[in-house]
């Protein structure tokens, strides 16, 4: 009971950002869990989109506006549309569900549970850095700063990432190109 009171007291002392964070965190967790538990794959994808929007909110709270916008454009936008397309093409039926045996499920639960306990205990004990609000630079995480860093300190990996995309594009075209004799779609 005593612990509960201290918990309540600490809850009352939260700032607005604190309330926002915990509220958003709760919604994020619920929607993330429903991604896994939803029976219908379409509902699962919709829950995933909602999770991405919640994560965008977290980025906003962390003063990372650029990351927040990119998260919406890339993840909630492009990638999730791809996901929806793929699921509609596959036309999943409920009978495919019984592919996993109980042993696999048990093993997955044990491995996942051990990892969760490990990570939780580690994050509980590990020292986490803090920042000083008085000396915090409000421009951290904005596009301007990001651009300066990308084009000065990180110019080399930034440019070489283009090689990565080029390889992926060449490969996609090469593998996806219709050969003579392949069926038409």
């Amino acid at each position: 009971m005593n612990q509960f009171n201290t918990f309540l007291a600490s809850f009352k002392n939260l700032t607005t950002a604190g309330y926002l964070f915990y509220g958003l965190g709760l919604i994020t967790l619920i929607s993330a869990i429903s991604v896994v538990t939803a029976k219908n794959p379409i509902h699962s994808v919709l829950a995933l989109i909602f999770t991405f929007f919640c994560l965008t909110g977290h980025y906003m709270l962390l003063n990372a506006q650029f990351l927040a916008i990119v998260n919406i454009i890339v993840y909630a936008g492009a990638i999730m549309v791809l996901f929806l397309f793929a699921i509609m093409f596959l036309n999943l039926k409920e009978e495919d569900e019984e592919a996993k045996t109980n042993v696999t499920k048990m093993a997955a639960v044990i491995v996942g549970g051990v990892l969760m306990v490990l990570l939780l205990s580690i994050f509980n004990y590990a020292p986490v850095g803090t920042y000083n609000p008085a000396s915090f630079d409000a421009k951290t995480g904005l596009v301007e700063r990001l651009g300066i860093v990308l084009y000065s300190d990180y110019i080399l990996p930034f440019e070489l990432a283009s090689i990565l995309f080029l390889v992926a594009m060449v490969g996609a075209v090469m593998l996806g190109k219709r050969e003579a004799g392949d069926p038409h779609f």
């Binding site: 080399l156 090689i163 990565l164 050969e179």
Partner: protein, 485 residues
């Protein structure tokens, strides 16, 4: 050591390889494919020469992004030499209707950019981008035999598992950044040294370190992260299997060596037990499973796992001596593996599978890659038999071949650290290795078979002979190479 910072165009190999990859894509527009192979080989030679221009100097490029020193140049040299040999064995692609050589060569050259980034990275971002370039290129090349279901399956498996491993690697990098506040290897190393001395909690650092190591160990196919290896190496076209098991492995171990020696040497006492366990598992699983394989190509996949185990011994015995040891081992292993795959491709090409016996050809491998294919090979083709025999001896670690000195140097690096029990396991497993490597030699020299004389293109022949001569030369005079470092 003094670092000079040159933010100018001196990292020639990366720039040259990127540009020549693009040039190759344009060469692919031509009707004739005759120009592609010589052009690729020319680009590789130019990059090889450019790589050694800065010999003896140490540079740090682009604000602590890329380090170029003698060790990095040697690893880059090994990778470029391996690629040169693999590419020169690809002459038959020009006649293959289904193949797209221009794209293959371009992707190979691009993937070398990733390999060089992994060899010389000083910033973890560079490691990540390098690993991704190399991996994505490999996913594509694994699936490049589009009509072959096994190739498709291998590519999909490799892609899914590799993507998860990359996710773990990235998670590790994020946690390391959270713990140390730095992406730079030396910055992380300084944190490890000072935090160990201060006695504070380093849990976040340790978790990040192990996640990063798991991601990298997956890429070099160390047990228990090796499950993708046999299927992928077996399903991929032999040419790209040779590339994967040499270049990707060399680059992966160069990266592991770099991060362990620069960043994590301060916490050696913490990670060496885990690495020793991984090493023993890799040696046991790789060698013992290889004994039971009926297919030569699948045996080579398990053999590459077991060689990852020997290379890991050099990492467990981390010292100044393990740097040249791992470089030498990579070179010896690459030479003999490429020679072995070169002979395998010739032998398998002459033995298309009988569709009536093996069912629809498109659903199975198109060629026979079993041990039986080598029966009586040495009678009609003494050269191929000799090349194969030398490369098997070298892989098994028999004296007078490069493989022996590779093992010797790696083992002595570990012996200096006092890991004697690890060496006992390794020597026992090398003895097991002799069994399955000699199966091929016995099949070639002592079994009866109806192999015809196999026609070998002149250039192909030269490359096979060069690999064999180099293997023997390094076996007789290992100081030739050691003196370089």
């Amino acid at each position: 050591m003094t670092f000079q910072t040159y933010d100018c165009l001196q990292m020639l190999p990366i720039i040259l390889l990127s540009l020549s990859g693009i040039a190759l894509l344009f060469l692919g527009f031509q009707k004739s494919r005759a120009l592609l192979l010589p052009a690729t080989l020319l680009f590789l030679v130019i990059a090889f020469v450019a790589n050694f221009l800065d010999w003896g100097k140490t540079y740090m490029y682009f604000r602590d992004m890329l380090l170029v020193n003698n060790l990095a140049m040697i690893f880059t040299g090994v990778v470029l030499l391996s690629t040169f040999m693999v590419v020169s064995l690809s002459g038959s692609l020009a006649d293959d209707e289904d193949a797209q050589p221009a794209e293959y060569y371009a992707i190979l050259l691009f993937s070398l950019v990733g390999a060089i980034m992994m060899i010389g990275f000083e910033n973890l971002i560079m490691l990540f981008v390098g690993v991704e370039i190399l991996s994505v290129a490999m996913y594509i090349l694994t699936g490049s035999d589009k009509r072959n279901l096994r190739s498709n399956e291998a590519a999909l498996k490799y892609f899914l598992m590799g993507a998860f491993a990359t996710g773990i690697l990235l998670f590790g990098i994020a946690l390391l950044y959270g713990a140390t506040g730095s992406f730079v290897l030396s910055g992380i190393g300084n944190y490890a040294h000072s935090a160990t001395n201060a006695g504070g909690s380093m849990l976040l650092f340790y978790v990040g370190m192990f996640m990063l190591l798991i991601g990298m160990l997956f890429k070099v196919s160390a047990a228990p992260f090796h499950f993708w290896t046999p299927d992928v190496y077996d399903g991929a076209p032999s040419l790209f299997t040779a590339y994967m098991s040499t270049v990707v492995k060399t680059a992966g171990f160069a990266a592991l060596l770099r991060i362990l020696s620069v960043s994590f040497s301060g916490v050696y006492d913490f990670w060496w037990v885990a690495m020793a366990v991984v090493t023993v598992l890799t040696l046991l699983i790789g060698n013992i499973t290889a004994v039971y394989q009926a297919s030569f190509k699948r045996m080579m996949a398990y053999s590459s796992i077991s060689h990852a185990g020997y290379l890991l011994i050099g990492l467990v015995g981390l010292s100044q001596a393990s740097k040249p040891a791992i470089a030498f081992y990579s070179l010896a292993y690459s030479l003999s593996t490429i020679a072995a795959f070169g002979v395998l491709m010739l032998v398998a090409r002459n033995r298309p599978l009988n569709a009536a016996v093996f069912g629809d050809q498109t659903t199975l491998a198109r060629t026979d890659e079993h041990y039986d294919a080598f029966n009586g090979l040495a009678r009609k083709n003494p050269l191929l038999g000799f090349v194969m025999a030398v490369s098997m001896l070298s892989l098994a670690g028999i004296p007078l071949t490069a493989g022996f000195w590779g093992k010797f140097m790696v083992f002595s690096a570990a012996a200096d650290r006092g890991a004697v029990w690890l060496l006992v396991v390794a020597v026992l497993m090398s003895a097991v290795g002799i069994y399955y490597y000699f199966r091929v030699v016995i099949a070639m020299y002592f079994r009866e078979g109806q192999t015809d004389t196999i026609r070998v293109a002149p250039f192909y022949r030269i490359v096979l002979i060069a690999a064999t001569v180099l293997t023997l030369a390094l076996g007789l005079l290992p100081n030739l190479f050691q003196g370089l470092i």
